[in-house]
Each structure stands twice: as C-alpha cells, then as structure tokens.
C-alpha cells in the first residue's frame, strides 16, 4: 500500500492536529519525542507519513502532490490561492482576519479615499478592499509585527489576524472591520482525492465525526 503523506503546520496547530488524529486512532510515536531532529515521521501501521512545514508552504506541498493532505490556517489557504481542495473545517485555531488601526482611522474606511494598508496577506487585503469595499488602497507587504506600521506612521491601517486582541489593545489599536472568520482547515491534493479516494474519505470522515462530537 502506498504511503499517504500529510503536511502539518509547525507549532500549535500541529499539536492540536495530532491530538485529533490520536482520537481517530492514528498515533505517531516518533513525533512525540521533543528531542527529535527528524523532518519526516512514519506511522507504519496506518501507512502514513507526516512532516512539519511552515504554514505558508503547506498549500504548496499539497498542490504539487508532495503531500496528499495538509492542515493549515484558512488565512494561508486564501493568501496562497493554490489549486487544492479545501475539504474540512477542523474548528480549532479559530481567529479573525481584521482591518485594525487607531480609533481615528475609522473615518478613512468610510470614504473611498486611497489609504495605505500594511499586511502579511496582500492578496486577502487587496480582495477585501478592491472587490468587497470598492476602495482603492496601497498595500505594503510586511513579514511580521504588522501592528507596528500604523504606530510609526508607515500605514494608515493594517489587515491581520486577530486572536484575542491583546496585542492590538496594548498598542492603542482597535479592530475596525472584520474581513472574515478563520480556522484550521484540511486541504487535499486534487489528484490524491481521486486516486486515494477511499483512504482519504475514510480519514476525513473519522476526523469529522470526532469534531462533531
């Protein structure tokens, strides 16, 4: 039997996913060793392979079939816009994609004037402002600590993920608009979905049953 390969997002999401899989009877002992330097882990019993990747790269691995399935945040799926099937909402890793900024920036969003938006997600930001709000914006792509941008005057507002809102609050920013709610998703390679349909469907069904419980 061929191995099914699953790409997981490094960090908290991987831990939660493995916990869910454990409930579905899939355990990967190799992966629980915190000292391990291995990049790829095998579950011989179920003929599964796992590897950890950066969130943004998970859709890429899945698109090329280097992984049959992947688990990552909806934000990266939207941003990467890869040719993959998005098949299951895992219900955890919940957060929101928001437009945030200082309170006085709220007015800038009400008119169609051109403003600057700093974000790690240029595609999502552009789609939201251009297609949903019909507001022309200049987008500045940053790679982290996006909250800094409006404080130091790099941009008017930011478009970023908000979990609890603590970081925003501590920096004098507020959520101005919600773009969309987000959560962790399972994505599948279109070819794998056809060629390994039975095993993948079975895996998804058992994951879904646990989530719905």
């Amino acid at each position: 039997m061929k191995y099914l390969t699953i790409a997981l997002t490094k960090g908290r999401l991987a831990g939660k996913t493995m916990k869910l899989l454990a409930q579905a009877g899939i355990e990967c002992k190799e992966m629980q060793d915190p000292e391990t330097r291995k990049l790829i882990f095998t579950d011989e019993k179920n003929r599964l392979k796992f590897f950890l990747a950066k969130g943004q790269d998970v859709p890429t691995y899945v698109e090329y079939g280097a992984a049959d399935l992947g688990v990552t945040g909806e934000d990266t799926i939207l941003e990467e816009n890869r040719r993959v099937y998005e098949v299951l909402d895992l219900g955890f890793g919940k957060c929101r994609m928001c437009v945030a900024g200082p309170a006085q920036a709220a007015g800038l969003l009400r008119h169609k004037e051109q403003i600057t938006v700093a974000t790690k997600y240029p595609r999502i930001a552009r789609d939201y402002f251009h297609n949903r709000k019909n507001q022309t914006v200049e987008i500045i792509k940053l790679n982290g600590s996006v909250e800094l941008a409006p404080i130091v005057g790099l941009s008017d507002v930011i478009c970023d993920i908000v979990e609890t809102g603590t970081t925003l609050k501590e920096n004098g920013l507020i959520v101005l608009e919600e773009v969309c709610p987000l959560s962790a998703r399972v994505i599948v390679n279109p070819v794998s979905m056809r060629m390994e349909n039975e095993r993948i469907s079975c895996l998804l069904r058992s994951m879904n049953d646990i989530i719905e419980k």
Partner: protein
Amino acid sequence: MKENLLHTPDGVRDIYGTECEQKHILENRMHKVLNSYGYRDIETPAFEYFDVFGHEIGTTPSRELYKFFDREGSTLVLRPDFTPSIARASSKYFMEENHPIRLCYLGNTYVNYLDYLGRMKESTQMGAELIGDPGPEADAEVIAMVIEMLLSAGLKEFQISVGQELFFDALAGEAALNPEDTETLRELIRNKNSFGVEKLLKGKNIAPELRQLFVQIPSMFGGEEIIEKAEEMTDCEEARAALERLRDVLRILEVYGLEQYVSIDLGMMSGFMYYTGIIFRGYTYGSGDAIIKGGRYDELLKNFGKPSPAIGFVVVINSLLHAMNRQQVPIVSEADRKLVFYDDQSRDEAIRTAMNLRKQGSDAELRKVEAADFSKTDAQICQEGGYRDVIHTERGQKT
C-alpha cells in the same frame, strides 16, 4: 563560457537526451492512436490576434497571456492553449462541410505564470477536437480515445473523471441566485469545499432539498451509482436530462470496453468558460495536476461565425512524462541504434557498413577515433550512450 548566456529564463527549459527521446516516443505512440480514429493533423500559428484568446472566449486570464504588438499596433498573443485556434481555423476552412470534422494537433503553449510558483510557462500539448457532432457518441469516442492514448503510452494506473457542466447550470438556474453568488458557488463546488457552500447558502432563499444537494455535490464522485443518487435528489428536468446524457456516454463506453477507467464526478467543473456539457480530466499518480483536460464546448465556434457543437481535449505531455518517470514506467525506444567506430584506415568501409545498416532499418552513428581504444568495454559504451550494439572497423592499434 559566458555565464549569462548559459541560462534559460524562469519557466522554460531545455529538453534533451533521454528525456527528449522519451517525450518523442510518447508523442509518436499517442499520435498513432489519434490517427487510428480518423483524426487529421493541423498546425496553427504560435501567436495570434489577442481577440482569439480574449475575454469572451475566456481561457486564460488576460494578465497570464504573453502579449506583444505587431508593427501596425495590433495586440498579439502567444497561444496559451490550442482550442480557440482550432475553432477559428475550422470555422474558416470547413465552413461548407456538413459532416463532422476530426482534427488533432501537437505543439507548445505559453502561459505567463508568476515566478516562483514552480509552474512551467512553456508546455507541450497534444490534443484533438471533434467538431460538428452533438451526440453522446462523440463524447464517448473522445473519452475512449483518451484512454487508448494513455494505454498506448504505457501508463497503467490512471483514472478519467467525467463531469457534466449542465448539471450544475440547471440547478443554479432553479436556485435563481444572482450571477455573483452563482459564480462563487461554482468556485466553491469546484474546490470541493462543502463548508463554503453551506456558509454561502445560509440565509439564502432556496428550497431545502436543493440546498442539501448543493452541499452534497462536492462529494458526489465515484461510480455510476452517483448518477442514481443525484437523480433521486432532484426533480429539475434539465438536471435530470444532463444526468441521462452522462449515463448514455457511460453505456457507449461499455461498448468500447473501457468503462473501467472512467469515474463520475458531478462536482467537477472547468475554469474555462467555454465548456458546455460533458467535461473530463485524467489523473494518475506522480502528477499533482490533471494530465488530461477536455470537454464539450458547443458555444465556442459561434464566436468565429460558424455555430457548431464540438468536443475536444488536451494531453499535457510534460506532466504525463514526469508522472510516468515517477511511477518508473519504462519508456523504451524501439530504435535499433548502433555505433560504428572507424579510423583513417577504415573510413570507406565504415561508411558503407553504416549505409547498409540504415538500409536495413537500424540507426547507425559514425564515430571517428585516432586508433582502437579499449579503455571501455562495448557493454559500457552501449549502456552509457543508449546503443544496442557497437561495431568496430578501426585497424590501427593504440600504442
């Protein structure tokens, strides 16, 4: 050597050696199948006027087209796929024909993808178009031909998924959503995203059975039983007719004896706007994307002034070859390739030997050496260079 002269731009590459040989073998094998079904070759130009590939005909987004200008200022485009060109050519040259036309082609296509996506911007496509036959027989013929092509190429494990654009169109018509929502819904179903479908339809004024069906479509793939399942879920006459057509095609494929390679996928829809009926894709291990894409496009030809039903498909040769190599399917040349060594003293004899070999149907390559060199065995030379045999005529001995 100048380094900047050695590189090819991002997204294009050289194909040489074994890979090139294997590619040509595949092309030849599949081309024979096309001819055996009565398809005639056609060549169209590599670039055409923008409007042939433009928005109304809708294949590739405009920003992904390679565009340039001629001296008069007209916009030209490098072809991103063949179908519009074939449609244009057939509308022009076969205006008067009233029997179906069968055409096949082979060539390179160009799509200007963003860099760093790992997608090739130039790819070789082989395909066929059957123009002027609206029936399920045409659908089945084209699908059967695709299967025979893949089998002749040497591929064993593959699957042709068949869908029906009209099924979704009929249901969308019944749901009477606004055009924007219909497009979003199509996109969500195409991506097998049933959560998205549920979310989108929440709060919309749609009959509950229809809503249920939309949510289910993404997972409606498998054998013939899928058609029955879908029939039970809808009373919409157009949708049922669309399903009946699918069943007809399957029945004809049984006559071909090829039904075991086919599965049904009601959620499959093409990104190409011109498809209007049966559509299909070919999948195999070792390729992240479909190796075959095809479908019926009855509305396309009227853009060129000759309304006519048509169905066609394309094989992405590079992806097929890549998948076969990954699956370790051997692609062995049937050519009887020989290498003839000679030196100054044996030149005339060697040329005559080579000519004789060629007459007998072998490939003979001549190689001049200073003197016989035995540092490599003949077996090694054959192995390294892909020869079946080595012939020595040289008389001088290495001192």
